[in-house]
């Protein structure tokens, strides 16, 4: 995770920064948008994307629709999520 601190070549560090910046801008674009999360065992849930933590441990979502009702706010563990998608206008 912290490869950049382990004496990585400068070229690789530059690429790492560029890739990460685009990813973070993507997280910014996802904020507040309805998203569909595919979890393990074929389970899919819908929620409003909130935020992700720095180490890719969990996603914070709002209005998570579950079979038991709508959770106003929730954390989804990244290890349980296979993929998520959202629409941009």
């Amino acid at each position: 995770r912290f490869q950049a601190l382990l004496g990585e070549p400068a070229a690789a560090q530059g690429l790492r920064a560029a890739l990460r910046e685009r990813y973070l801008r993507g997280l910014g674009a996802a904020r507040g948008r309805p998203a569909r999360f595919c979890l393990r065992a074929g389970v899919c849930v819908e929620a409003v994307f909130g935020a992700a933590d720095v180490g890719a441990v969990a996603f914070q979502v709002d209005a998570l629709r579950t079979p038991l009702g709508v959770q106003a706010a929730a954390l989804l563990r990244c290890t349980d999520v296979l993929a998520y998608s959202f629409l941009l206008d």
């Binding site: 995770r1 993929a83 998608s85």
Partner: protein, 96 residues
């Protein structure tokens, strides 16, 4: 940690701006243009252009990625199109 997560930024960068098919665990498959690969989680961010001029973004988490196959190279026009998707909005010009 899987093989995909062990790759370096130099490896991941080869997939950027290319149309790929991502094979994920539990037999899921995703197709789209690679916008970026998060160097922390190795998650692949894919864009697909829909008919109504909307863009669908799919993020396949690094731990779920099994294999990534390149289907098509992106031309300059596509690279430009992809670079605009998450680009910050231009700052407003302030009058002196």
């Amino acid at each position: 940690m899987n093989d995909w997560q062990r790759k370096s930024p130099l490896d991941w960068e080869k997939y950027v701006n290319k149309m790929v098919k991502v094979a994920a665990i539990e037999k899921h498959e995703y197709e789209g243009w690679v916008l970026t690969v998060d160097p922390v989680s190795a998650s692949v961010v894919l864009a697909t252009f829909l008919e109504n001029e909307k863009v669908s973004i799919s993020v396949v988490l690094g731990h779920a990625v099994q294999e990534v196959e390149i289907l098509k190279e992106g031309d300059d026009e596509m690279k430009q199109r992809l670079s605009c998707i998450f680009a910050p909005e231009e700052g407003k010009a302030y009058s002196p």
